[in-house]
C-alpha cells in the first residue's frame, strides 16, 4: 500500500513538472504534428496506396507508433537529468519504496502520452484521418499504443540509468529509435525495400505495431516479403508478444540497475 502511495506521488510529480514546463508538452506534440503535415502533404501526394481515404489513413498509425516510441528518449533523458542534479540521491535517502521512483516515472511518461496521442488524433482528423472500425476498436488501438509506449519507457529507464551524461542519453535514444521507426512500414510500404531489409522491416516491432493499429483502425495491411508469416497474419498478437518480452527483460534489469546504484 505504501509502495502504491509512493508510486502515485512520483507519478503526480511527473505531471506537475509538465504543468510547470508546458514547453515539454508543446515540443513533444509539435514534432509529430510536423511529421503529419510533412508526410501528408509533401510525400503523401506521391505515394499511391490504393486505400480508400488515401495515404493519411496509413500514415496516422505510423505517426502514432513513432510518437510513443519516443517515450524511450523522454524517460531516459528525464532520469539522466534527475541523476545529474543529485535528485536521485535525495529520493534514495527517503524511507520510500526503492522502485517507486522509476515506476512512477514510467507511469508519468505514459500519462503524458495520453495527452500527446489526443493532440495527434485531433491533428489527424483535421487533415482527413477517418478510422472506420467503430469506437471500441479505436479505443483499443490507442490503449495498445499506450502499452507499447509504457514498455519502451522501461528501456528508457535502463538507458537513462546507464549513461553518464544527459546528452549522451539523448543521442543513444535517438540512435535506437530512429532506425526502428524508419526501417518499418510506418511511412512507406516495405515492398519497395531490398528483400533482406524487408524481412527486417516486417519483423520489426514498430511494423507489427503499426500493422496492428491499422487493423484496429479498420485498414487492410500490406506485407511484402513476409506475407503469410505469423507476424503478417497476426500483427496484434506479435506486437503483444514483443511488448511482454521487452517488459520481462527490461523491468527487472532496470530495477536491478537502480537498486545496485549503491554499487
Amino acid at each position: 500500500m505504501r509502495a502504491l502511495n509512493d508510486i502515485y506521488i512520483i507519478t503526480r510529480r511527473q505531471l506537475l513538472l509538465l504543468s510547470r514546463v508546458p514547453e515539454v508538452l508543446i515540443f513533444s506534440t509539435i514534432q509529430p504534428v510536423m511529421f503529419v503535415l510533412l508526410f501528408r502533404y509533401v510525400f503523401g501526394g506521391s505515394i499511391d496506396t490504393g486505400q480508400p481515404g488515401g495515404y493519411v489513413q496509413l500514415l496516422m498509425p505510423g505517426i502514432f507508433v513513432q510518437t510513443v516510441a519516443f517515450t524511450l528518449a523522454g524517460t531516459a533523458s528525464g532520469l539522466a537529468e534527475d541523476m545529474k542534479k543529485g535528485l536521485i540521491d535525495r529520493f534514495r535517502s527517503l524511507p520510500i519504496s526503492q522502485s517507486a521512483l522509476v515506476i512512477g516515472r514510467t507511469l508519468g511518461d505514459s500519462l503524458l502520452n495520453i495527452v500527446v496521442l489526443a493532440v495527434m488524433g485531433i491533428a489527424g482528423y483535421v487533415v482527413g484521418w477517418r478510422p472506420s472500425s467503430g469506437i471500441g476498436n479505436i479505443a483499443l488501438g490507442f490503449l495498445f499504443l499506450l502499452f507499447f509506449g509504457y514498455a519502451l519507457s522501461w528501456v528508457g529507464v535502463l538507458v537513462g540509468l546507464s549513461a553518464s551524461d544527459a546528452r549522451v542519453v539523448q543521442n543513444v535514444s535517438f540512435i535506437v529509435t530512429f532506425p526502428l521507426t524508419f526501417l518499418s512500414n510506418a511511412f512507406a510500404p516495405t515492398t519497395g525495400m531490398p528483400r533482406a531489409l524487408q524481412y527486417f522491416a516486417e519483423w520489426n516491432p514498430v511494423s507489427t505495431m503499426v500493422a496492428a493499429c491499422r487493423e484496429l483502425f479498420g485498414l487492410e495491411n500490406q506485407f511484402g516479403a513476409t506475407a503469410g508469416s505469423f507476424p503478417s497474419e497476426h500483427p496484434l498478437v506479435t506486437s503483444l508478444f514483443y511488448m511482454v518480452v521487452i517488459m520481462v527483460i527490461f523491468i527487472p534489469l532496470s530495477l536491478r540497475k537502480y537498486r545496485n546504484y549503491a554499487e
Binding site: 506521488i9 540521491d89 535517502s93 527517503l94 546504484y261
Partner: protein
C-alpha cells in the same frame, strides 16, 4: 550512547585506483555535533554517502542509531535526514511543491504535508519565495530549502555535507544560525566542512580527515591548542622589520616569523586582543607606523601544518562526485 559508528571503512573507486576511504573510524555521541573537517578530496562526501545508505563500502562496518547501514538500509532511511553537498531539490518545482512532495513521501498525508511545508518555509525564511520555482532561488535559499527537506520528519540523525560551501558570507551566517537552532533542539548531527571556523562554531567535536583517514580527533579547543591558537600578524615598512620582530616576539613569548616578500611578521598569541593592543602600544612608542595589524584565527591549513607538517593538499583530479 553512540548514535553513529563507522569502523574501518574502506572505499575505493575506479577499480581500486582511487582510495577514497582508507580505514576510517568515526563515532558521534547521541545529541552531539561532530564535524568532519577535511580538504577537497579527503573523503567527506564518500563517508556521508556510506552512512546514509547511498553508497556501499568495500569493507568495514557502519551503524546509524544502532541500525546496520548495509543490512538494514530501509530502517536507516527512516531515522536520518540528509542534505548533500549539492542541493538536491527539484529545480522546476516551487519550494512549496518540493516540500509537500517530500512530506507525502515521508507518508505524512497530504494535509499534514502541507502544514509541515508551510512551517518549514516560515522557519527558513522562504515563505515569500515559496511559490517560485527553485531555479529562481539563490544558492543560499536552495541550501536552506534542501535542509528543510531533510527535516520534514524530525530525524534522529542529521547529515549535512558541506552546508555552506559556495555561500557568500551572509548566506553562511544565515546557515550557521539555522544549524545552531537545530543543535539547540538536540539533534544528533554529523556535518562536513572545509572550514575550521565553521567546525568551531557548530561542533562539539571535530574529526580531521585527510586522504580517507582520521588524522586528529577532539574538541575544537583541544585542536586549537594543538595548532597554537590565534596568530598575530603585523606588516611594516622595510626599515622597521627588525625592531618590530623584537616587539612581537616579546609579546608573544615565541620567536616571531617573517615573510620577507610581504614584510609580514607573525607569531602565535594566546591572549588575543590584549596581545594585539600591547603590540600596537609598543610599536607606537617606538615610533613605528604599522601598515597592517591583525589577529588571524587558525585555518584548516594551519591545522594541517600542525598535524601533518604539510598544508592541506588539494587533490588535482578533483572530480564532480557522482555515482
Amino acid at each position: 550512547m553512540k548514535t553513529v559508528i563507522a569502523e574501518n571503512l574502506v572505499k575505493t573507486y575506479d577499480k581500486g585506483k582511487v582510495r577514497a576511504l582508507d580505514g576510517l573510524n568515526l563515532d558521534v555521541e547521541e545529541g552531539t555535533v561532530l564535524s568532519v573537517l577535511g580538504p577537497n578530496g579527503a573523503g567527506k562526501t564518500t563517508v556521508v554517502r556510506i552512512l546514509t545508505t547511498l553508497l556501499r563500502a568495500d569493507s568495514g562496518n557502519a551503524q546509524v542509531a544502532g541500525i546496520d547501514v548495509v543490512n538494514n538500509p530501509e530502517k536507516v532511511r527512516e531515522v536520518i535526514g540528509l542534505s548533500g553537498q549539492y542541493a538536491a531539490v527539484d529545480e522546476i518545482l516551487t519550494g512549496y511543491d518540493n516540500l509537500v512532495m517530500f512530506g507525502e513521501l515521508y507518508h505524512l498525508g497530504k494535509k499534514q504535508a502541507v502544514v509541515r511545508a508551510n512551517e518549514l518555509l516560515e522557519r527558513f525564511s522562504l515563505t515569500e519565495a515559496a511559490k517560485r520555482p527553485i531555479k529562481t532561488y539563490s544558492g543560499g535559499m536552495r541550501r536552506r530549502l534542501d535542509l528543510a527537506a531533510s527535516l520534514i520528519v524530525k530525524p534522529k540523525v542529521l547529515f549535512l555535507d558541506e552546508p555552506t560551501t559556495g555561500l557568500d558570507p551572509r548566506g553562511r551566517q544565515e546557515m550557521w544560525g539555522v544549524i545552531q537552532e537545530l543543535v539547540k533542539g538536540g539533534v544528533t548531527l554529523l556535518l562536513t566542512t572545509q572550514y575550521l571556523e565553521e567546525a568551531d562554531q557548530l561542533a562539539d567535536d571535530i574529526a580531521v580527515i585527510d586522504t580517507g583517514k582520521v588524522i586528529a580527533r577532539g574538541t575544537s579547543d583541544a585542536l586549537k591548542k594543538q595548532v597554537g591558537g590565534e596568530r598575530l600578524e603585523v606588516v611594516v615598512e622595510q626599515q622597521h622589520i627588525a625592531k618590530t620582530m623584537e616587539i612581537v616576539s616579546a609579546v608573544s613569548g615565541h620567536t616571531a616569523g617573517l615573510d620577507e616578500g610581504l614584510r609580514l611578521i607573525t607569531a602565535p598569541v594566546s591572549t588575543g586582543s590584549v596581545a594585539l593592543f600591547e603590540v600596537l602600544k609598543s610599536l607606537d612608542s617606538a615610533g613605528i607606523h604599522a601598515l597592517d595589524v591583525g589577529l588571524k584565527r587558525p585555518s584548516l591549513d594551519d591545522v594541517f601544518l600542525a598535524l601533518t607538517g604539510h598544508t592541506a593538499e588539494v587533490k588535482v583530479e578533483e572530480k564532480e562526485v557522482k555515482k
